[in-house]
């Protein structure tokens, strides 16, 4: 067992999971009185962010070993334990989740129907996400994996757009099929390990030691892959995302694109790659090719869209294609670039979704034919839209560029052709992003309407993100520091 475990520690990670959960319950109870529901939700989000920030500050420099480790016996009959573990990557993801949650709550400020349950679901989603990033026992991981799905399903099906029910069902079942394959793989691995070592356990650390035949490893890896490939939308399995994002309510789509997509990739890094090293080695070239295909497919599709929210959905798929490419290169710089890109993509695309929601509130439409000439009517809103679009197309000096250049530098070392092809993809990103910007901001104002510029609440949401986008673009060192140790150990396939 990990020597780290027996040190009596303050259960920070359980706190991170429990605060949003209690917040959710309180919001449910205060269902009727809407404004203290909002206050409660915001307070919970801020509290979680405070804890996450504290952890980031005191574990900022990261290390080869676990930063935090909690281990409690849960179901002795099956050897299932309540194990939470945090390393550099998990720390970053937790910080991103906490940060995005605040803007999600602020964005959901103007929800009218059933405010209490909306915020409850939002906070339950956050607790599920925290769980996914921290869980280190396979059944616990699976439990949080599904717990994060249910609130998203209800957010889409009750507060969504026109086609919400059909899309919500499609979204849930698509991810469910993947996660059930993962469940079967978990049980199979659990039994093989149990048979070999006599002690039935589901903690990933102990499962690393199971000797698997090539066939077994192939099948188990495929099982795990089914769940993660669907969630980090690799090309053939991405159609659920575009529908879900366009139908989800504003705060829901912010969380879906900013965080839920990252759980798929995080699952790959934390669970699939370490457990099945040689199956991963064979799979990497396929992952690289699929990531590239995804990059181009999503870029082309984005170019053809008229609905700006759907365009942003495709742009997310294209960005995550680049992230997956970085992972497929299996190189230190490429991995750090991918993880940084995941964080910055969360912020930039999240901000863009916030802006799209604000534009939707003001103009009542999301189609580019009816939008246009926004700069004349709402200059601040348009300026921020321009800033985040430029960040999203990878302009140097802004957030995404730092991640992208690291991914490309790293990937060029291993697979030069992939890096060059990916670079062409970046031009496509410029193509559809500029089309988006031109459709929304520039050009003559089509409908005569006076649009109110940003209110205080909206500034509160967007200003921190704008500052972060510029800060991450120019000085990403503090966010890269925790990654060095964690990524080095994962690449070596060892146990952090």
């Amino acid at each position: 067992m990990n020597a780290f475990a027996n040190l009596p520690q303050f259960p920070w990670m359980s706190l991170l999971i429990m605060i949003p959960l209690c917040g959710a319950l309180l919001c449910l109870l205060h269902g009727k009185r809407t404004n203290d529901c909002r206050g409660l939700a915001l307070a919970t989000a801020l509290a979680t962010f405070g804890v996450a920030l504290y952890l980031f500050v005191c574990h900022g420099q990261g290390s080869e070993r676990w930063l935090l480790y909690e281990d409690v016996n849960w179901i002795p009959a099956y050897g299932i334990r309540y194990v939470l573990a945090m390393d550099g990557i998990a720390l970053l993801m937790v910080l991103l989740t906490a940060f995005m949650q605040i803007s999600a709550v602020l964005l959901a400020w103007r929800v009218e129907r059933h405010v209490g349950s909306f915020f409850a679901l939002l906070l339950l989603l956050e607790s599920g996400l925290m769980g996914i990033f921290l869980a280190y026992d396979l059944v616990l991981f699976y439990l949080f994996w599904e717990v994060a799905l249910i609130p998203m399903f209800f957010l889409i099906s009750v507060w969504g757009g026109e086609q919400r029910r059909r899309t919500a069902l499609k979204f849930f079942l698509y991810t469910l099929i993947g996660s059930l394959c993962m469940l079967v793989a978990i049980i199979a691995l659990y039994q093989i390990n149990g048979a070999q070592t006599g002690a039935y356990t589901l903690v990933i650390g102990d499962l690393l030691k199971t000797q698997l035949t090539a066939a077994q490893e192939g099948w188990l890896f495929a099982g795990f892959l089914a769940a993660f490939v669907v969630k980090s939308p690799l090309v053939p399995f991405h159609t659920w995302l575009t529908d879900a994002l366009t139908e989800a309510p504003a705060a829901g789509s912010l969380d879906l694109t900013g965080l839920l997509l990252k759980t798929g990739i995080y699952g790959l890094i934390r669970v699939a790659f370490p457990l099945f090293p040689n199956a991963t080695a064979d799979f990497l070239p396929i992952l690289g090719i699929l990531a590239l295909v995804g990059l181009f497919h999503a870029a082309w599709s984005a170019y053809h869209q008229d609905d700006i929210k759907r365009l942003l959905a495709y742009s997310s798929i294209s960005h995550l294609g680049l992230v997956l490419l970085g992972l497929a290169a299996w190189q230190l710089t490429a991995w750090e670039g991918s993880i940084l890109l995941m964080v910055t993509h969360g912020i930039t695309t999240g901000a863009l979704f916030v802006l799209v929601a604000l534009i939707r509130e003001r103009t009542g439409t999301r189609s580019m034919q009816e939008l246009g000439g926004l700069w004349g009517q709402a200059p601040c809103l348009s300026a921020l839209f321009l800033l985040f679009s430029l960040a999203s197309l990878g302009l140097p000096g802004l957030a995404n560029f730092a991640g992208e250049i690291l991914v490309l530098l790293g990937t060029f070392q291993e697979h030069p052709v992939w890096a060059v092809v990916a670079l062409l993809g970046v031009v496509f990103a410029a193509a559809y992003m500029l089309r988006l910007v031109q459709g929304v901001i520039w050009g003559p104002a089509k409908a005569e309407r006076t649009l109110p510029d940003l209110t205080m609440r909206e500034w509160l949401m967007l200003l921190p993100m704008a500052i972060l986008v510029v800060w991450l673009g120019l000085y990403p060192a503090p966010f890269l520091a925790p990654l060095h140790g964690a990524v080095a150990t994962l690449l070596a396939g060892g146990l952090p």
Partner: protein, 626 residues
């Protein structure tokens, strides 16, 4: 003044840009204008102040680390050396004058904060390219310049064509940036570092094949920014922006960034002869192409835009011929006289009531202030390359370098250079005659030209005329100041016997005279424009837009439609819907079984019993009750 203050040069324009952008609209207009001009003028003064630091090896200042992950360790660093100093001086100087001119030009415009903010940001980005110590900071400046030109071209965003022109500029330059990025990645893989001086030092150690590909990639990257042949379609449309923008960006600074990049990485590029000939070829072809197009243009600014493209082609030829001094010399003089021409063109447009078409002008010498004609003529004379003007010496230096190049094929490029010089003289004087000679053909009523638009023209005009002093050839007793200033960075020293030099000078003078007389004969008394296939072909740049459209844009949109509706809708979604329908069909089938009648349920029971009997007999037959 300690060297650590060097970073103030790029920082000053950046701060002014940020202040203008954030608080520009709230501050009074005068404050924003002063802020913009002081930002750039301050940088100009600082460059003069710190001129000493540029001698010798130059000084390297590291500000803070940008990216450190594994082998990558890149920081924001400046290298103020002998190549960068004159370039910074020129950029900040011309920019100061253009800012003053812009104050006058844009005084009716109410969105001034955004304009001056972007203009200052542009100067910062250009300084980032010039002073960059590693390729990543250079790339940051590279894309920053692209962004500012996108913002400024599309400044009058209310008309959709301006916004489209801005997007086109950004996209085409972005394609060029991709090639630069590939070169950047490859250099990092080959040399393990992104620091420019280290790369130049290790240049010899890289395998020749790789060097050839790298130089070609750098060439394509430079072509993107300097609007050379494959990626030149955006420059003509970029004239949709306000004139000070065209003057600053599309005359003096951005288009020359490509040349500066090649000069910066000259030790690496000069190793591969294939690369050098490619650079010269591209330069020559673009020069010729642009000159022919300039002849047929109707708008004053598009003529100047194509002439810029042609002059930058000359600079590429100079780099290809191996003389960095020749290239930089022509770059500096060209910046002066082209800026004058653009600013004067701005005044002419104001006088003609915002009319761009030169066939609807004429007789402007009498309509506006008389010194406008003399200033325009000074610029035109330098552009055409009349003897003793700055343009003449710099262009002649390049032609000499081409003529005396050891590789005989450079004679072909020399010939193209001479032919382009002829065409340049022709279209320059065509412009002068159509705009200033004859009587007024236009309809618009003239705007008054404020003072700030008039007096910044004079210093630049003078600099253009006496620009030759910078690098006066030994033939006429000059001390080749620029060549000595560059020292080892200067590349191949051009030596030729006096007789060939005199022969070339005589030949050049004859060419210019020929061009002038042709223009004089053709346009002395006004003739309406001749409309035929050739002129239409030349008018829209050898139909390059149509070519790009059908080669790239149309297949791209077709592929986009295929991917989004073809793949996503019918293929992936289609399969899902198919599965769902199949499931519902099976359930409908099954639900019909429960008919509601008890007898059906009993018969189902009987079927179950039958299955049991069948299974039982099967068991008996092969099992035999073991």
């Amino acid at each position: 003044m300690s060297e650590s203050l060097l970073f103030l040069i790029p920082l000053l324009p950046l701060c002014c840009a940020v202040i203008n952008m954030l608080f520009g609209m709230r501050l009074p207009r005068l404050f924003a204008e002063i802020m913009a001009v002081t930002g750039v003028a301050g940088a100009f003064l600082l460059t003069i102040l710190f001129w000493g630091y540029a001698e010798g090896e130059g000084t390297r200042v590291v500000i803070f680390t940008w990216l450190n992950s594994g082998a990558v360790d890149v920081s924001f660093a400046m290298n103020f050396d002998r190549l960068a100093a004159p370039m910074t001086l020129m950029v900040t100087g011309v920019a100061t004058l253009i800012h003053l001119y812009a104050v006058g030009y844009m005084h009716e415009e109410n969105d001034y904060a955004r304009f001056f903010g972007l203009l200052n940001l542009f100067v910062f980005a250009m300084l980032a390219i010039i002073l960059a110590d590693n390729l990543l900071v250079l790339f940051l400046g590279w894309e920053g310049v692209g962004l500012c030109s996108y913002g400024l071209i599309g400044f009058w965003y209310r008309k959709l064509e301006n916004a489209k022109a801005g997007t086109k500029a950004f996209l085409v330059t972005r394609v060029g940036d991709v090639f630069l990025a590939i070169a950047l990645l490859w250099l990092f893989a080959a040399t393990g570092t992104l620091n420019i001086s280290e790369i130049n030092a290790q240049a010899a150690s890289i395998s020749p094949g790789v060097v050839i590909v790298l130089s070609l990639l750098l060439l394509l990257g430079a072509c993107g920014k300097s609007a050379q042949l494959p990626l030149m379609t955006w420059l003509a449309d970029a004239m949709a922006g306000p004139t000070p923008v065209s003057a600053l960006i599309h005359a003096a600074t951005m288009v020359t960034a490509g040349v500066y990049l090649l000069c910066r990485l000259f030790p690496l590029v000069s190793i591969s002869t294939v690369g050098m000939t490619a650079i010269t070829a591209i330069g020559a072809l673009t020069a010729l192409y642009a000159a022919t197009c300039a002849m047929a243009q109707r708008e004053i600014k598009r003529v100047l835009a194509y002439s810029t493209m042609s002059q930058v082609g000359y600079m590429f030829m100079a780099v290809g011929a191996g003389t960095v001094t020749g290239a930089m010399f022509h770059l500096l003089t060209h910046a002066f006289f082209k800026a004058v021409l653009f600013m004067a063109a701005g005044c002419v447009i104001h006088l003609a009531g915002d009319e761009n078409d030169i066939y609807k002008m004429g007789g402007m010498a009498r309509r506006g202030p008389v010194e406008l004609f003399w200033v325009f003529l000074a610029g035109a004379v330098c552009l055409a390359g009349l003897p003793l003007t700055g343009g003449f010496f710099s262009k002649d230096g390049i032609l000499l370098a081409l003529f005396t190049h050891p590789d005989p094929t450079y004679r072909v490029f020399w010939l193209i250079g001479v032919l382009t010089a002829l065409l340049t003289a022709f279209y320059t004087f065509r412009l002068v005659y159509l705009v200033f000679a004859g009587e007024w053909r236009g309809t618009g009523h003239p705007h008054a030209i404020p003072l700030q638009m008039r007096w910044p023209l004079w210093p630049l005009a003078l600099l253009g005329l006496i620009g030759g002093m910078l690098n006066l050839p030994a033939l006429v007793g000059g001390d080749e100041m620029l060549h000595h200033w560059y020292g080892d960075l200067a590349g191949r020293a051009v030596t030729a016997s006096h007789s060939t030099e005199w022969m070339l000078i005589g030949f050049a003078v004859a060419i210019v005279a020929l061009g002038w007389f042709a223009a004089h004969w053709r346009y002395r008394n006004y003739r309406p424009p001749v409309e035929n296939r050739v002129s239409r072909f030349l008018l829209n740049g050898w139909q390059s837009d149509a070519l790009v459209d059908c080669l790239l844009v149309r297949p791209f949109t077709a592929m986009a439609r295929f991917c989004s509706s073809g793949c996503d809708r019918s293929l992936f979604d289609g399969t899902l819907e198919g599965l769902a329908k199949m499931a519902t069909r099976y359930s409908a089938l099954l639900v019909q079984l429960a008919t509601g009648r008890a007898t059906t349920y009993l018969s189902a029971f009987a079927w179950g019993f039958l299955v049991l009997l069948g299974w039982f007999l099967l068991k008996l037959v092969n099992g035999g009750g073991h």
